[in-house]
């Protein structure tokens, strides 16, 4: 039996010109992508084909053409074997409110084929690992959104799969819950040794968690690269300053001063009010100090200084635009 955790197998998911066409929509269009062990982000706007891909990978929906394999098993013929080794956390609510997390997860463990005793032990372990303690004996109806997300994650992990498919796990969470969930997802790989495919429409969120990001749009592969490629472009800080009597155009003055200090500066793009915003590439933490000192030295008022989160839309921008930024930041990186 092929085993993804052994050294011999280097891909957990492989698709080969995978297409799924419905009478009126093409959900997946000749998608070819190889996903290696680790945490992989799958990014795409709503309707980009993320859910369709997950369905096909679980062997629940036949592809119109092309092939796909998960953990070395063919999705068309070995769906049941795949689902025994893979965990799935749906995007939507899926928990009955009238049972406790323990009862529910035990039932789901047995549905994955775990014998009764093992199901109980694994449930207790898994719920502890996702951070549910005494409350696991209470009915799920009384849980907060964050706790429910943890139960959903627990049911996907309870049978110790080799791969989990997480569909929008941070949906509906507040910033703190979001960070906790992302940390947990990271731990699923680092501590538990389980490969993760996590979908999101927020690229910035995935960068912090994933080793590799796959971007799909309209069912086709837009980009597949390791996260470090993305972070190059994302380590960007937006700075806005006031004008003073000494510097009637504060923005221009700061630009010159920063360029003199050796920091790559570019204009704020096409967004409204972008003329007053400078985008800086951050080489390391000292950049922030340099910006602070330069602004203070010029006597300007610092209106804002914020980290830019790349959103999916930015990857969709014209190819030349991005290549431009990438080349520059890559150059900056080499210099540093």
């Amino acid at each position: 039996m092929p085993n993804a955790t052994t050294v011999g197998c280097v891909t957990v998911i492989a698709t080969e010109s995978l297409s799924k066409r419905f009478p009126r929509v093409t959900a997946l269009d000749r998608l070819s992508v190889d996903i290696t062990p680790g945490v992989t982000g799958l990014v795409g706007a709503n309707g980009a084909g993320k859910s369709t891909l997950i369905k096909i990978l679980l062997g629940l929906s036949p592809a119109t053409e092309g092939r796909a394999s998960v953990l070395g098993l063919d999705v068309a013929t070995q769906g049941s074997a795949i689902r025994e080794r893979v965990g799935y956390m749906p995007e939507h609510d899926c928990l009955p409110p009238d049972v406790s997390a323990t009862e529910f997860v035990v039932h789901m463990a047995r549905m994955s084929g775990l014998p009764p005793t093992a199901a109980r032990e694994r449930t207790a372990d898994t719920l502890r690992h996702v951070g549910l303690y005494e409350e696991r004996y209470r009915p799920i109806g009384g849980y907060s959104t964050g706790m429910k997300q943890r139960v959903k994650l627990a049911q996907a992990l309870v049978h110790d799969p080799q791969l989990v498919l997480l569909d929008e796990p941070t949906n509906g969470l507040d910033p703190v819950g979001r960070d906790e969930m992302l940390g947990l997802i990271r731990r699923v790989h680092t501590d538990f040794g389980i490969s993760v495919l996590v979908t999101s429409h927020l690229l910035g969120e995935l960068e912090r968690t994933c080793d590799h990001v796959v971007v799909i749009d309209g069912g086709a592969l837009l980009r597949s690269s390791s996260t470090s490629d993305f972070t190059q472009t994302t380590a960007t800080v937006a700075v806005e300053v006031t004008d003073t009597d000494r510097h009637p155009d504060g923005t221009a003055a700061l630009r010159e001063a920063l360029a003199a200090a050796g920091i790559a500066v570019h204009a704020g793009g096409r967004a409204p009010g972008a003329g007053h915003v400078l985008l800086l590439d951050v080489a390391d933490d000292s950049t922030y100090d340099t910006v602070r000192d330069t602004v203070a030295g010029l006597g300007l008022g610092l209106v804002r200084m914020e980290q830019r989160r790349h959103q999916i839309a930015e990857v969709f921008r014209k190819e030349d635009d991005r290549d431009d930024t990438q080349a520059r930041s890559a150059g900056g990186h080499d210099a540093a």
Binding site: S51, I54, K55, L58, L60, S61, S80, A81, R83, E84, V86, G87, Y88, P90, H92, D93, C94, L95, P96, P97, D98, V99, E103, H107, M108, R110, M111, S112, G113, L114, P115, A118, R122, D125, R128, H129, G131, Y133, Q155, H159, D160, E180, G183, L184, R187, D191, F192, G193
Partner: protein, 307 residues
């Protein structure tokens, strides 16, 4: 997000205190994975237990247990009467028992069929099942078998009481065993038929309340209409039509089948039953077709809900 490390942190002398909670970390599972057949069996057991409120809240045990008690009570009374009056036979045939108490069976089905299927639909738990080794057919088969078994238990327990009572009253063993066996066949058919109809109706809506009302409506309206029209047909002197009319409600179908094949006395007006041997076969075919149709409809129903 590293909860298990917080406990040691509060202990002053780490590592020396024997009460320290050790972070044993993640343990992977190397044990058996019993696969699809086991998962199907587990789902069947869970659904069957669930139909009697076992493994659910105390509140949800009340109604099914109460209905089971109501089903058994008349059997107990009949046995007591038989024993005390030293009657030569039971006041009631085994096959008539379920027909007389059809309202109780209907209530049980109406309350438990929605809890079996609407719950998974309403809270969207169905995708969690289908992302596991089981397939659609396993889910449908397990739910159907569980509901049919729950109904079979509900209808068999009182027959067992009757049978045990009859033997206690030293009634003729051969007669009683034959009657009991006929009763068992009849309620088995009834259980499968009712379970299919109940689950199909309940699976139409994710709302439990609607499901309950719909199941009751389907059973009582069909029976009420059929028995009314049958009575009118007899009044008009058309027993043939009346006999065929029984095909339009589940309980009269069972009644027709057992009148023809299981030596039962029909509950149709004037105990007529299906008008001919051919009609009897049609009744049996109708029962089987309805059960098979329910299965097909359920399979169809779950085609779209996978994820």
């Amino acid at each position: 997000m590293q909860p298990e490390t917080t406990a040691p942190a509060t202990v002053p002398a780490q590592g020396t205190d024997p009460t320290r909670i050790h972070n044993i970390g993640y343990r992977s599972y190397e044990g058996a994975r019993l696969g699809r057949a086991y998962a199907r069996r587990s789902l069947f057991t869970q659904s069957l237990r669930g139909a009697y409120g076992l493994g659910r809240s105390a509140k949800s045990k009340v109604l099914p247990m109460l209905l089971l008690a109501v089903m058994c009570l008349p059997a107990g009374i009949l046995v007591a009467v038989t024993v005390f009056t030293k009657a030569k036979e039971l006041p009631l045939e085994y096959t008539s028992y379920a027909v007389y108490l059809q309202a109780v069976i209907g209530l049980f089905l109406a309350s438990q069929a929605p809890q079996s299927v609407s719950r998974d639909l309403r809270f969207k738990s169905v995708p969690l099942y289908f992302s596991r080794p089981i397939e659609r057919v396993d889910y449908v088969a397990a739910k159907l078998a569980a509901m049919a078994s729950a109904l079979f238990i509900l209808t068999t327990v009182p027959l067992l009481i009757l049978y045990a009572g009859a033997l206690l009253a030293e009634l003729d063993f051969t007669d009683q065993t034959k009657g009991f066996a006929q009763g068992l066949v009849s309620v088995a058919l009834l259980s499968v038929l009712f379970a299919g109809i109940g689950l199909v109706v309940a699976a139409l809506t994710p709302r439990r309340g609607f499901g309950v009302a719909a199941v009751i409506a389907v059973l009582t309206i069909s029976y009420g209409a059929v028995s009314t029209v049958q009575a009118i047909a007899y009044e008009q002197g058309d027993p043939e039509v009346a006999g065929w009319l029984g095909l339009f409600s589940p309980i009269t179908i069972i009644d027709g089948v057992q009148t023809r094949f299981l030596g039962a006395t029909s509950s149709f007006p004037r105990e007529a039953g299906p008008p001919s041997a051919f009609a009897g076969v049609v009744y049996l075919a109708a029962a089987l077709a309805l059960a098979a149709g329910s299965y097909a409809l359920l399979m169809r129903r779950y085609r779209k809900v996978g994820l």
